[in-house]
Protein backbone atom coordinates (compact mmCIF):
# COMPACT_ATOMS: atom_id res chain seq x y z
CA UNK A 1 0.00 0.00 0.00
CA UNK A 2 2.76 2.41 1.00
CA UNK A 3 4.56 1.68 -2.27
CA UNK A 4 1.38 2.38 -4.19
CA UNK A 5 1.30 5.83 -2.65
CA UNK A 6 4.99 6.66 -3.21
CA UNK A 7 6.46 9.26 -5.51
CA UNK A 8 7.91 6.68 -7.92
CA UNK A 9 4.45 5.24 -8.55
CA UNK A 10 2.96 8.49 -9.78
CA UNK A 11 5.44 9.62 -12.41
CA UNK A 12 3.37 10.90 -15.32
CA UNK A 13 3.43 9.18 -18.70
CA UNK A 14 4.65 11.18 -21.72
CA UNK A 15 2.00 13.55 -23.00
CA UNK A 16 0.20 13.80 -19.65
CA UNK A 17 -1.93 16.95 -19.52
CA UNK A 18 -0.54 19.13 -16.71
CA UNK A 19 -3.90 20.93 -16.32
CA UNK A 20 -5.14 17.81 -14.54
CA UNK A 21 -3.01 18.74 -11.52
CA UNK A 22 -4.64 22.04 -10.43
CA UNK A 23 -8.07 20.41 -9.82
CA UNK A 24 -6.35 17.87 -7.52
CA UNK A 25 -4.74 20.73 -5.60
CA UNK A 26 -8.08 22.55 -5.48
CA UNK A 27 -9.79 19.41 -4.17
CA UNK A 28 -7.45 19.53 -1.18
CA UNK A 29 -7.54 23.27 -0.58
CA UNK A 30 -11.29 23.70 -1.06
CA UNK A 31 -11.76 21.22 1.81
CA UNK A 32 -9.19 22.54 4.25
CA UNK A 33 -10.34 26.11 3.53
CA UNK A 34 -13.34 25.25 5.70
CA UNK A 35 -11.19 26.44 8.60
CA UNK A 36 -12.05 30.05 7.69
CA UNK A 37 -15.76 29.23 8.16
CA UNK A 38 -15.41 27.59 11.57
CA UNK A 39 -17.08 30.57 13.25
CA UNK A 40 -20.50 29.52 11.81
CA UNK A 41 -20.53 26.83 14.52
CA UNK A 42 -19.67 29.18 17.39
CA UNK A 43 -23.15 30.17 18.52
CA UNK A 44 -24.78 26.72 18.09
CA UNK A 45 -21.88 25.20 20.06
CA UNK A 46 -22.62 27.54 22.96
CA UNK A 47 -26.08 25.93 23.28
CA UNK A 48 -25.25 22.26 22.92
CA UNK A 49 -26.91 21.44 26.26
CA UNK A 50 -29.65 24.05 26.29
CA UNK A 51 -30.32 23.83 22.50
CA UNK A 52 -32.72 26.82 22.42
CA UNK A 53 -30.43 28.93 24.64
CA UNK A 54 -27.21 28.56 26.62
CA UNK A 55 -27.57 27.00 30.06
CA UNK A 56 -25.15 26.29 32.90
CA UNK A 57 -22.48 23.86 31.73
CA UNK A 58 -22.65 24.97 28.10
CA UNK A 59 -19.38 25.94 26.43
CA UNK A 60 -18.45 29.62 26.33
CA UNK A 61 -17.23 31.49 23.23
CA UNK A 62 -13.83 32.06 24.84
CA UNK A 63 -13.41 28.29 25.24
CA UNK A 64 -14.51 27.68 21.66
CA UNK A 65 -12.06 30.25 20.30
CA UNK A 66 -9.25 27.86 21.24
CA UNK A 67 -10.41 25.33 18.62
CA UNK A 68 -9.40 27.67 15.78
CA UNK A 69 -6.25 28.83 17.55
CA UNK A 70 -5.14 25.23 18.09
CA UNK A 71 -5.86 24.39 14.45
CA UNK A 72 -3.78 27.31 13.17
CA UNK A 73 -0.90 26.55 15.55
CA UNK A 74 -1.02 22.86 14.51
CA UNK A 75 -1.11 23.97 10.88
CA UNK A 76 2.14 25.90 11.22
CA UNK A 77 3.90 23.29 13.36
CA UNK A 78 2.89 20.31 11.19
CA UNK A 79 3.84 22.14 7.99
CA UNK A 80 7.22 22.94 9.52
CA UNK A 81 7.79 19.43 10.95
CA UNK A 82 6.49 17.38 8.02
CA UNK A 83 7.53 19.67 5.15
CA UNK A 84 10.62 17.61 4.33
CA UNK A 85 8.61 14.38 4.51
CA UNK A 86 5.94 15.81 2.19
CA UNK A 87 8.66 16.77 -0.27
CA UNK A 88 10.36 13.35 -0.24
CA UNK A 89 7.26 11.13 -0.23
CA UNK A 90 5.37 12.98 -2.92
CA UNK A 91 1.89 14.48 -3.13
CA UNK A 92 -0.18 11.29 -3.20
CA UNK A 93 1.03 9.91 0.12
CA UNK A 94 0.96 13.29 1.86
CA UNK A 95 -2.43 14.04 0.28
CA UNK A 96 -3.84 10.81 1.72
CA UNK A 97 -2.40 11.57 5.16
CA UNK A 98 -3.85 15.10 5.03
CA UNK A 99 -7.27 13.69 4.03
CA UNK A 100 -7.25 11.18 6.87
CA UNK A 101 -6.19 13.79 9.45
CA UNK A 102 -8.76 16.34 8.25
CA UNK A 103 -11.65 13.88 7.79
CA UNK A 104 -11.07 12.02 11.06
CA UNK A 105 -10.43 15.32 12.82
CA UNK A 106 -14.04 16.20 12.04
CA UNK A 107 -15.31 12.78 13.09
CA UNK A 108 -13.47 12.89 16.44
CA UNK A 109 -14.65 16.46 16.90
CA UNK A 110 -18.23 15.33 16.21
CA UNK A 111 -17.86 12.66 18.89
CA UNK A 112 -16.58 15.32 21.28
CA UNK A 113 -19.61 17.50 20.53
CA UNK A 114 -21.98 14.54 20.94
CA UNK A 115 -20.43 13.58 24.31
CA UNK A 116 -19.94 17.24 25.24
CA UNK A 117 -16.23 16.69 25.84
CA UNK A 118 -14.39 19.81 24.73
CA UNK A 119 -10.95 18.20 24.94
CA UNK A 120 -12.03 15.76 22.21
CA UNK A 121 -13.02 18.69 19.98
CA UNK A 122 -9.68 20.36 20.72
CA UNK A 123 -7.84 17.16 19.86
CA UNK A 124 -9.98 16.19 16.87
CA UNK A 125 -10.45 19.44 14.98
CA UNK A 126 -7.67 21.46 16.61
CA UNK A 127 -4.71 19.08 16.73
CA UNK A 128 -5.47 16.25 14.26
CA UNK A 129 -7.43 18.47 11.88
CA UNK A 130 -4.75 21.14 12.23
CA UNK A 131 -2.12 18.60 11.10
CA UNK A 132 -4.36 17.85 8.10
CA UNK A 133 -4.47 21.58 7.41
CA UNK A 134 -0.69 21.95 7.51
CA UNK A 135 0.16 18.85 5.49
CA UNK A 136 -2.67 19.47 3.02
CA UNK A 137 -1.70 23.11 2.57
CA UNK A 138 1.87 22.37 1.44
CA UNK A 139 1.15 19.09 -0.38
CA UNK A 140 0.46 20.50 -3.87
CA UNK A 141 2.99 23.36 -3.81
CA UNK A 142 6.11 21.59 -5.04
CA UNK A 143 4.16 19.46 -7.53
CA UNK A 144 2.49 22.50 -9.07
CA UNK A 145 5.79 24.37 -9.34
CA UNK A 146 7.34 21.32 -11.04
CA UNK A 147 4.50 21.18 -13.57
CA UNK A 148 4.30 24.94 -14.10
CA UNK A 149 7.87 26.28 -13.94
CA UNK A 150 6.74 28.92 -16.44
CA UNK A 151 3.78 30.03 -14.25
CA UNK A 152 4.80 29.37 -10.67
CA UNK A 153 2.71 32.18 -9.23
CA UNK A 154 -0.43 31.37 -11.16
CA UNK A 155 -0.34 27.65 -10.41
CA UNK A 156 0.24 27.93 -6.67
CA UNK A 157 -2.12 30.91 -6.57
CA UNK A 158 -4.84 28.74 -8.07
CA UNK A 159 -4.41 26.09 -5.37
CA UNK A 160 -4.21 28.56 -2.51
CA UNK A 161 -7.23 30.36 -3.97
CA UNK A 162 -9.04 27.14 -3.10
CA UNK A 163 -8.21 27.70 0.56
CA UNK A 164 -10.04 31.04 0.37
CA UNK A 165 -12.86 29.49 -1.66
CA UNK A 166 -13.31 26.64 0.80
CA UNK A 167 -14.93 28.99 3.30
CA UNK A 168 -17.39 30.25 0.69
CA UNK A 169 -18.60 26.68 0.21
CA UNK A 170 -18.39 25.56 3.84
CA UNK A 171 -20.35 28.46 5.29
CA UNK A 172 -23.66 27.99 3.37
CA UNK A 173 -23.21 24.20 3.36
CA UNK A 174 -22.80 24.10 7.15
CA UNK A 175 -25.84 26.38 7.56
CA UNK A 176 -27.90 24.09 5.37
CA UNK A 177 -26.78 20.91 7.16
CA UNK A 178 -27.33 22.35 10.64
CA UNK A 179 -30.87 23.42 9.70
CA UNK A 180 -31.48 19.94 8.24
CA UNK A 181 -30.28 18.10 11.37
CA UNK A 182 -31.58 20.54 13.98
CA UNK A 183 -34.38 19.29 16.23
CA UNK A 184 -35.90 20.35 19.57
CA UNK A 185 -33.23 18.23 21.28
CA UNK A 186 -30.21 18.96 19.06
CA UNK A 187 -28.48 21.92 17.42
CA UNK A 188 -27.46 19.60 14.58
CA UNK A 189 -23.76 20.46 14.84
CA UNK A 190 -22.49 16.91 15.59
CA UNK A 191 -24.21 15.23 12.59
CA UNK A 192 -23.13 18.18 10.41
CA UNK A 193 -19.51 17.52 11.39
CA UNK A 194 -19.95 13.81 10.57
CA UNK A 195 -21.23 14.64 7.08
CA UNK A 196 -18.51 17.23 6.51
CA UNK A 197 -15.83 14.79 7.72
CA UNK A 198 -16.98 12.04 5.34
CA UNK A 199 -17.42 14.39 2.36
CA UNK A 200 -14.04 16.07 2.91
CA UNK A 201 -12.30 12.71 3.34
CA UNK A 202 -13.74 11.40 0.04
CA UNK A 203 -13.05 14.62 -1.86
CA UNK A 204 -9.48 14.96 -0.61
CA UNK A 205 -8.71 11.29 -1.31
CA UNK A 206 -10.00 11.83 -4.86
CA UNK A 207 -7.59 14.72 -5.26
CA UNK A 208 -4.68 12.82 -3.69
CA UNK A 209 -5.07 9.88 -6.08
CA UNK A 210 -5.14 12.23 -9.08
CA UNK A 211 -1.67 13.69 -8.41
CA UNK A 212 1.16 12.92 -10.83
CA UNK A 213 4.73 14.19 -10.76
CA UNK A 214 6.59 15.05 -13.96
CA UNK A 215 9.16 12.58 -15.31
CA UNK A 216 12.84 13.49 -14.88
CA UNK A 217 13.84 15.96 -17.57
CA UNK A 218 10.28 17.08 -18.32
CA UNK A 219 9.63 20.71 -19.15
CA UNK A 220 6.74 22.54 -20.81
CA UNK A 221 6.95 22.50 -24.58
CA UNK A 222 8.99 25.42 -25.89
CA UNK A 223 9.79 26.80 -22.43
CA UNK A 224 13.29 28.11 -21.80
CA UNK A 225 14.30 28.76 -18.15
CA UNK A 226 14.94 32.47 -17.55
CA UNK A 227 18.58 33.46 -17.23
CA UNK A 228 19.73 34.49 -13.77
CA UNK A 229 20.94 37.85 -15.04
CA UNK A 230 17.54 38.71 -16.48
CA UNK A 231 15.74 37.99 -13.20
CA UNK A 232 18.28 38.30 -10.42
CA UNK A 233 16.09 36.82 -7.66
CA UNK A 234 15.22 33.65 -9.57
CA UNK A 235 17.94 31.17 -8.68
CA UNK A 236 18.82 27.95 -10.45
CA UNK A 237 20.45 26.61 -7.30
CA UNK A 238 18.79 24.88 -4.38
CA UNK A 239 19.07 25.55 -0.66
CA UNK A 240 18.21 22.75 1.79
CA UNK A 241 15.53 23.54 4.40
CA UNK A 242 18.13 23.32 7.18
CA UNK A 243 20.33 25.88 5.42
CA UNK A 244 17.39 28.02 4.33
CA UNK A 245 16.48 28.89 7.92
CA UNK A 246 20.07 30.06 8.47
CA UNK A 247 19.79 32.67 5.74
CA UNK A 248 18.61 36.25 6.39
CA UNK A 249 16.33 35.88 3.35
CA UNK A 250 14.22 33.26 5.12
CA UNK A 251 13.66 35.47 8.16
CA UNK A 252 13.01 38.55 6.02
CA UNK A 253 10.32 36.59 4.17
CA UNK A 254 9.04 35.30 7.53
CA UNK A 255 8.53 38.92 8.60
CA UNK A 256 6.97 39.74 5.22
CA UNK A 257 4.38 36.95 5.58
CA UNK A 258 3.80 37.43 9.29
CA UNK A 259 3.14 41.18 9.07
CA UNK A 260 1.03 40.90 5.93
CA UNK A 261 -1.11 38.23 7.64
CA UNK A 262 -1.29 40.10 10.97
CA UNK A 263 -2.53 43.21 9.20
CA UNK A 264 -5.13 41.22 7.23
CA UNK A 265 -6.36 39.37 10.30
CA UNK A 266 -6.69 42.74 12.00
CA UNK A 267 -9.40 43.65 9.51
CA UNK A 268 -10.94 40.21 8.90
CA UNK A 269 -11.41 39.43 12.58
CA UNK A 270 -13.44 42.55 13.29
CA UNK A 271 -14.92 43.35 9.87
CA UNK A 272 -18.52 42.70 10.89
CA UNK A 273 -18.39 44.70 14.13
CA UNK A 274 -16.27 47.42 12.53
CA UNK A 275 -18.65 48.28 9.67
CA UNK A 276 -21.67 48.24 12.01
CA UNK A 277 -20.02 50.53 14.53
CA UNK A 278 -18.47 52.90 11.99
CA UNK A 279 -21.79 53.27 10.13
CA UNK A 280 -24.09 52.97 13.11
CA UNK A 281 -27.76 52.94 12.14
CA UNK A 282 -27.01 52.45 8.44
CA UNK A 283 -25.48 48.96 8.42
CA UNK A 284 -27.37 46.19 10.21
CA UNK A 285 -26.15 42.67 11.09
CA UNK A 286 -27.41 41.21 7.81
CA UNK A 287 -25.61 43.83 5.71
CA UNK A 288 -22.48 43.31 7.83
CA UNK A 289 -22.65 39.56 7.11
CA UNK A 290 -22.85 40.47 3.41
CA UNK A 291 -19.74 42.61 3.86
CA UNK A 292 -17.87 39.68 5.45
CA UNK A 293 -18.96 37.48 2.51
CA UNK A 294 -17.68 40.09 0.08
CA UNK A 295 -14.32 40.08 1.89
CA UNK A 296 -14.23 36.29 1.46
CA UNK A 297 -14.67 36.74 -2.28
CA UNK A 298 -11.88 39.31 -2.50
CA UNK A 299 -9.67 37.12 -0.31
CA UNK A 300 -10.18 34.26 -2.76
CA UNK A 301 -9.88 36.26 -5.99
CA UNK A 302 -6.82 38.12 -4.71
CA UNK A 303 -5.00 34.84 -4.25
CA UNK A 304 -5.28 33.95 -7.90
CA UNK A 305 -5.00 37.41 -9.45
CA UNK A 306 -2.06 38.78 -7.43
CA UNK A 307 -0.10 35.51 -7.67
CA UNK A 308 -0.68 35.44 -11.44
CA UNK A 309 0.41 39.07 -11.71
CA UNK A 310 3.62 38.17 -9.84
CA UNK A 311 4.60 35.95 -12.79
CA UNK A 312 4.60 39.06 -14.97
CA UNK A 313 6.08 41.74 -12.69
CA UNK A 314 8.14 39.59 -10.30
CA UNK A 315 7.61 38.51 -6.72
CA UNK A 316 9.45 41.35 -5.00
CA UNK A 317 7.58 44.14 -6.84
CA UNK A 318 4.29 42.37 -6.07
CA UNK A 319 5.00 42.50 -2.33
CA UNK A 320 6.21 46.10 -2.69
CA UNK A 321 2.78 46.81 -4.12
CA UNK A 322 1.05 45.00 -1.20
CA UNK A 323 2.96 46.95 1.39
CA UNK A 324 2.95 50.39 -0.28
CA UNK A 325 -0.67 50.28 -1.45
CA UNK A 326 -1.71 48.50 1.75
CA UNK A 327 -0.17 51.19 3.96
CA UNK A 328 -2.00 53.89 2.02
CA UNK A 329 -5.30 52.00 2.19
CA UNK A 330 -5.06 51.28 5.94
CA UNK A 331 -4.41 54.97 6.52
CA UNK A 332 -7.40 55.79 4.28
CA UNK A 333 -9.88 53.50 6.10
CA UNK A 334 -10.48 55.90 9.06
CA UNK A 335 -10.96 58.78 6.62
CA UNK A 336 -13.39 56.70 4.56
CA UNK A 337 -15.33 55.96 7.75
CA UNK A 338 -15.38 59.65 8.68
CA UNK A 339 -16.55 60.64 5.19
CA UNK A 340 -19.63 58.44 5.65
CA UNK A 341 -19.10 56.66 2.34
CA UNK A 342 -19.88 52.96 2.77
CA UNK A 343 -18.76 52.29 -0.82
CA UNK A 344 -15.33 53.90 -0.30
CA UNK A 345 -14.89 52.13 3.04
CA UNK A 346 -15.88 48.75 1.57
CA UNK A 347 -13.67 49.27 -1.50
CA UNK A 348 -10.62 50.04 0.68
CA UNK A 349 -11.14 47.01 2.92
CA UNK A 350 -11.87 44.67 -0.02
CA UNK A 351 -8.64 45.72 -1.74
CA UNK A 352 -6.72 45.25 1.53
CA UNK A 353 -8.12 41.73 1.90
CA UNK A 354 -7.31 40.87 -1.72
CA UNK A 355 -3.68 41.66 -0.88
CA UNK A 356 -3.87 39.60 2.32
CA UNK A 357 -4.89 36.61 0.16
CA UNK A 358 -2.34 37.56 -2.48
CA UNK A 359 0.41 37.48 0.15
CA UNK A 360 -0.40 33.88 1.03
CA UNK A 361 -0.61 32.80 -2.60
CA UNK A 362 2.54 34.47 -3.87
CA UNK A 363 4.88 33.28 -1.11
CA UNK A 364 5.48 29.70 -2.45
CA UNK A 365 6.64 31.09 -5.81
CA UNK A 366 8.77 33.69 -4.00
CA UNK A 367 10.41 30.89 -1.99
CA UNK A 368 11.00 28.84 -5.14
CA UNK A 369 12.65 31.88 -6.74
CA UNK A 370 14.92 32.55 -3.77
CA UNK A 371 15.71 29.03 -2.48
CA UNK A 372 15.19 26.91 -5.61
CA UNK A 373 12.41 24.48 -6.42
CA UNK A 374 13.85 21.25 -5.02
CA UNK A 375 12.88 21.78 -1.36
CA UNK A 376 10.19 24.39 -1.78
CA UNK A 377 7.49 22.45 0.13
CA UNK A 378 9.78 21.94 3.10
CA UNK A 379 10.92 25.58 3.17
CA UNK A 380 7.33 26.73 2.70
CA UNK A 381 6.27 24.52 5.60
CA UNK A 382 8.79 26.17 7.89
CA UNK A 383 7.76 29.63 6.76
CA UNK A 384 4.13 28.89 7.66
CA UNK A 385 5.07 29.24 11.34
CA UNK A 386 4.76 32.95 10.50
CA UNK A 387 1.06 32.33 9.88
CA UNK A 388 0.71 30.58 13.24
CA UNK A 389 2.41 33.47 14.99
CA UNK A 390 0.20 36.00 13.21
CA UNK A 391 -2.88 33.88 13.91
CA UNK A 392 -2.18 33.96 17.65
CA UNK A 393 -0.80 37.47 18.13
CA UNK A 394 -2.77 39.33 15.43
CA UNK A 395 -6.21 39.09 17.02
CA UNK A 396 -4.76 39.63 20.52
CA UNK A 397 -3.02 42.81 19.37
CA UNK A 398 -6.10 44.09 17.56
CA UNK A 399 -8.51 43.37 20.41
CA UNK A 400 -6.15 44.87 22.98
CA UNK A 401 -5.71 48.11 21.03
CA UNK A 402 -9.49 48.43 20.50
CA UNK A 403 -10.27 47.77 24.16
CA UNK A 404 -7.58 50.21 25.27
CA UNK A 405 -9.17 52.90 23.10
CA UNK A 406 -12.67 52.25 24.42
CA UNK A 407 -11.42 52.19 28.03
CA UNK A 408 -9.92 55.65 27.45
CA UNK A 409 -13.19 57.15 26.29
CA UNK A 410 -12.76 56.93 22.52
CA UNK A 411 -16.18 56.42 20.82
CA UNK A 412 -16.68 52.89 19.42
CA UNK A 413 -16.96 54.23 15.88
CA UNK A 414 -13.42 55.66 16.15
CA UNK A 415 -11.87 52.85 18.20
CA UNK A 416 -10.64 51.17 15.02
CA UNK A 417 -8.65 54.14 13.76
CA UNK A 418 -5.55 53.51 15.87
CA UNK A 419 -5.71 49.81 14.95
CA UNK A 420 -5.63 50.77 11.27
CA UNK A 421 -2.63 53.05 11.81
CA UNK A 422 -0.80 50.27 13.73
CA UNK A 423 -1.53 47.88 10.86
CA UNK A 424 -0.19 50.46 8.41
CA UNK A 425 2.95 50.64 10.57
CA UNK A 426 3.39 46.86 10.37
CA UNK A 427 3.15 47.07 6.60
CA UNK A 428 5.88 49.72 6.52
CA UNK A 429 8.17 47.28 8.38
CA UNK A 430 7.12 44.56 5.92
CA UNK A 431 7.98 46.89 3.03
CA UNK A 432 11.55 47.32 4.24
CA UNK A 433 11.93 43.60 5.02
CA UNK A 434 10.89 42.82 1.45
CA UNK A 435 13.19 45.51 0.10
CA UNK A 436 16.12 43.85 1.89
CA UNK A 437 15.58 40.45 0.21
CA UNK A 438 18.60 39.74 -1.99
CA UNK A 439 19.77 36.54 -3.73
CA UNK A 440 21.02 33.87 -1.31
CA UNK A 441 24.81 33.78 -0.82
CA UNK A 442 26.68 31.05 -2.73
CA UNK A 443 27.79 29.28 0.46
CA UNK A 444 24.20 28.19 1.16
CA UNK A 445 23.72 26.54 -2.25
CA UNK A 446 23.46 22.78 -2.17
CA UNK A 447 25.67 22.03 -5.20
CA UNK A 448 28.16 23.75 -7.38
CA UNK A 449 26.18 22.31 -10.30
CA UNK A 450 23.47 24.91 -10.86
CA UNK A 451 20.97 22.29 -11.99
CA UNK A 452 21.48 20.13 -8.94
CA UNK A 453 23.30 16.87 -9.43
CA UNK A 454 20.72 14.83 -7.51
CA UNK A 455 17.79 14.87 -9.82
CA UNK A 456 16.74 18.48 -9.86
CA UNK A 457 17.17 18.52 -13.62
CA UNK A 458 13.60 17.40 -13.97
CA UNK A 459 12.50 20.73 -12.61
CA UNK A 460 15.04 23.13 -13.98
CA UNK A 461 15.90 21.51 -17.32
Amino acid sequence: MAGFLGREQIIARPGFNRWLIPPCALATHLCIGQAYALSVFNLPLTRQLGVARSIAGDWRLTQLGWIFTLAIVSLGLSAALFGKWVQSEGPRKSGVVAAVCWGFGFLIGALGIHLHQLWLVYFGYGVLGGCGLGIGYITPVSTLISWFPDRRGMSTGMAIMGFGGGALIASPLSDFLMRHFASPTSTGVAPTWVVLGVVYLAFMLGGAFGYRVPAPGWKPEGWVPPSEKAQALITRYNVTPADAIRTPQFWLLWVVLCFNVTAGIGVLGQASAMIQEVFKGRINASAAAGFVGLLGLFNMAGRFLWASLSDKIGRKPTYMCFFALGTALYALVPLAGKSGSVALFAACVCLIISMYGGGFATIPAYLADVFGTKYVSAVHGRLLTAWSAAGVFGPVLVNYIRQFQIDHGIPKSEAYNVTMYVMAGLLVIGFFANLAVKPVADRYHEHSDPLGARGDRRVMA
Binding site: L20, A27, I169, L173, L294, L297, A343
Partner: protein
Protein backbone atom coordinates in the same frame (compact mmCIF):
# COMPACT_ATOMS: atom_id res chain seq x y z
CA UNK B 1 -0.17 1.00 -33.19
CA UNK B 2 -3.94 1.32 -33.68
CA UNK B 3 -6.35 -0.38 -31.28
CA UNK B 4 -9.61 -2.12 -32.19
CA UNK B 5 -11.35 1.26 -32.53
CA UNK B 6 -8.72 2.43 -35.01
CA UNK B 7 -7.13 4.86 -32.54
CA UNK B 8 -3.44 5.02 -31.69
CA UNK B 9 -2.53 4.73 -28.00
CA UNK B 10 -1.55 8.42 -27.99
CA UNK B 11 -4.94 9.46 -29.33
CA UNK B 12 -6.71 7.23 -26.81
CA UNK B 13 -4.65 8.72 -23.97
CA UNK B 14 -5.44 12.23 -25.16
CA UNK B 15 -9.17 11.47 -25.34
CA UNK B 16 -9.00 9.96 -21.84
CA UNK B 17 -7.21 13.09 -20.59
CA UNK B 18 -9.88 15.34 -22.10
CA UNK B 19 -12.66 13.43 -20.33
CA UNK B 20 -10.74 13.41 -17.04
CA UNK B 21 -9.94 17.09 -17.41
CA UNK B 22 -13.60 17.96 -17.87
CA UNK B 23 -14.71 15.81 -14.94
CA UNK B 24 -11.96 17.05 -12.64
CA UNK B 25 -12.65 20.73 -13.30
CA UNK B 26 -16.40 20.18 -12.95
CA UNK B 27 -15.88 18.41 -9.62
CA UNK B 28 -14.07 21.41 -8.14
CA UNK B 29 -15.76 24.10 -10.23
CA UNK B 30 -19.40 23.34 -9.39
CA UNK B 31 -19.06 23.61 -5.59
CA UNK B 32 -16.86 26.68 -5.96
CA UNK B 33 -19.33 28.47 -8.24
CA UNK B 34 -22.16 27.52 -5.85
CA UNK B 35 -20.21 28.99 -2.94
CA UNK B 36 -19.51 32.20 -4.87
CA UNK B 37 -23.18 32.59 -5.89
CA UNK B 38 -24.38 32.02 -2.30
CA UNK B 39 -21.85 34.56 -1.02
CA UNK B 40 -22.89 37.13 -3.63
CA UNK B 41 -26.54 36.66 -2.62
CA UNK B 42 -25.56 37.41 0.96
CA UNK B 43 -23.45 40.38 -0.11
CA UNK B 44 -26.49 41.95 -1.81
CA UNK B 45 -27.71 42.95 1.65
CA UNK B 46 -24.72 45.29 1.91
CA UNK B 47 -25.44 46.93 -1.45
CA UNK B 48 -29.07 47.36 -0.41
CA UNK B 49 -28.00 49.04 2.83
CA UNK B 50 -25.37 51.22 1.21
Amino acid sequence: MANKYGKTSNEAARAHDTVMLTLAWLAVGIPLVWGVVETLKKAMALFGAA
